[in-house]
Symmetry: C2
Subunit: 321 residues, 2 copies
DNA sequence: ACTAATTACATAACCAGTTATGCAAATATA
DNA sequence: TATATTTGCATAACTGGTTATGTAATTAGT
């Protein structure tokens, strides 16, 4: 199929569907030829029952990876075909315990030869290909269990978007941005406090002139995020990370992470050993970001901010870009 | 999925379907997130039109590997969404030439980022697996183009069945079988001739005592096929293969081939160089079998049988078991 | 002991594809 | 030039799955 070499991997779903349809069609013919009186789609249900005797609808569904209604339908069809008997045993009247009838059990014997022929044919195809389809599927199932394709695509999007982001040092032209971005989130979740007004009104005086720095994230050359590095007067912590703010329209581009990295890199450059921050646990994504940057919860440090209910610190020795 | 390690390769179709469904579900979410206003199932149609401009329904169907009605439906949906315009150009009023509208073309630009993110995510998954799913699918498409799964399973069935067949030398107890099996097919297609009556009535006298042999195929210890090796009085051909008959109930077990091999092996063993046979072209499967055994058409040899309209011979030097 | 929540399932409605079918337009053939 | 065949497509009906929903039976919570 030349088509898929042009589309690229984007069409993996389509390609898989086509291959599946092809095999399914052949499967129908094969089942016909062996005259066992089984429909291909019955196979998974048939198989678990032949191996494990009695089962409820939901148990079967879980085991074969189908939805419950799907198994419900298949069971009805197989009952009509005389292969399955329903409502066996069961004190619990909600449960529908199904099992193979004698005819069903008899079919298990007859299907063995078909089973071994199909198996041999597939093994043969696998043996004559360089890439093992069966194993590849298994690996994909495993990988998708750990992280869905959607999540993986999201990650790629972030990586791509973050390449468009530039982190630059503070300049006077960004004073307004520094103020408004911070006011925005603070007043959304909390209230502006005295210390906020001071720092946001005069960042040069309150942050930079005291040996700190501010970084600005540009997206398409527009400032969309800020973060400050503040020099502390504390024997344990040399620096504080503070006033991180990212415009809501620029979410999902990894900007917080890039700003945090810039701040920590600078702190390390200036000889810092520990970096400190304070925040509030209602800001879940922020806390997650801090953890990703290497911050861990600490306790008992003085803070002038009311809104602060969590304090964190990171070791700058172990911080690597 | 422990389930599939228990079923074995028989459930390849099921397993593929499950994986496909999983990816399809995620695809829907991904398309939503990128807000391009495209449904995943539109992608193949969208792609060909974006690459190649105008196309008819049937052309698209052929290219993307869908059925024509499928494309018909997709085109209707995309038209409703304003992405496609129908019935462009066309002197031939049967044809429905479709193309992207300006909005559709605009969407091609917007989808590029989604495209590259998905591509990167899939590449990443492929890179982190030992078995390349994409390549494996391609190989399967190739293999299935050459021979369907059904045909491959049939081959395996024959191999398995032919293992149950034993070829044994003639003994008196098989005289009746030798006669009836041959009478059966001869009188079905032709009429019994004088030479038939003689050989079938007294195989010992007419075949074995004259330096020939007869082989019998047993299936479950029942005789189901016979074939004779007759010594000839001819400078060109040492032996003739004749009176091959297989019971109709034992078809598809490769019995003819096994009998033919036994006869040719014996002929070679006896120092034969060329083996000859005569048949009739209405017996298509038989002629195919002879060709598979190495026989090729020759002309101009004398035959006492009216029903014979083709003569074939095989070189025994090149015959290998 | 009674009510609320949960569970097991069937049924209905939908989805993305398919095959079967019919019709109109175009082409081939006598 | 009239008729038969082929082509291109739409539509209908089916398939093997899904999600959504309703209901009866059971279990949990007060």
């Amino acid at each position: 199929m030349d088509f898929f070499s042009r589309t690229g991997k984007m069409a993996l779903g389509s390609r898989l569907r086509l291959l599946t349809a092809r095999l399914t069609d052949d499967a129908a013919t094969i089942y016909d030829v062996y005259e066992i009186g089984l429909k291909p789609k019955w196979f998974p249900v048939f198989f678990v029952l032949s191996e494990e005797g009695e089962k409820t609808i939901t148990e079967i569904a879980g085991e074969i990876g189908h939805s419950q209604p799907s198994v419900s339908k298949i069971v009805r069809e197989m009952t009509a075909a005389g292969l399955i008997s329903e409502n066996n045993d069961t004190e619990d009247k909600r449960r529908n315990v199904v099992a193979l009838t004698p005819e069903g059990i008899e079919a298990t014997a007859r299907i063995k030869e078909q089973y071994s022929d199909v198996n041999a044919a597939v093994e043969d195809m696998i043996a004559s290909s360089r890439h093992n389809l069966w194993e590849a599927i298994e690996e994909w199932e495993y990988l998708l269990d750990r992280k869905s394709l959607y999540q993986r695509v999201e990650e790629q999007r972030k990586i791509r978007e973050s390449k468009k982001v530039r982190i630059v040092p503070y300049a006077e032209q960004y004073r307004a941005t520094f103020k408004t971005l911070n006011e925005e989130w603070i007043s959304t979740y909390f209230e502006m406090e005295e210390a906020d007004y001071k720092a946001l009104h005069d960042p040069e005086g309150y942050i930079i002139d005291k040996g700190g720095s501010i970084f600005v994230a540009l997206y398409d050359n527009e400032p969309v995020g800020v973060c400050a590095l503040i020099r502390m007067q504390d024997p344990a912590y040399d620096f504080e990370m503070a006033k991180m703010a990212v415009s809501p329209v620029a979410r999902g581009k990894n900007i917080g992470f890039l700003l945090g990295q810039a701040v920590m890199r600078k702190a390390k450059e200036l000889g810092g050993k520990q970096i400190y921050l304070e925040s509030n646990t209602v800001l879940k994504p922020a806390i997650g970001l801090y953890r990703k940057l290497g911050f861990r919860k600490i306790a008992g440090h003085f803070t002038p901010y009311k809104r602060c209910n969590i304090q964190m610190a990171a070791d700058l020795h172990t911080f690597a870009d």
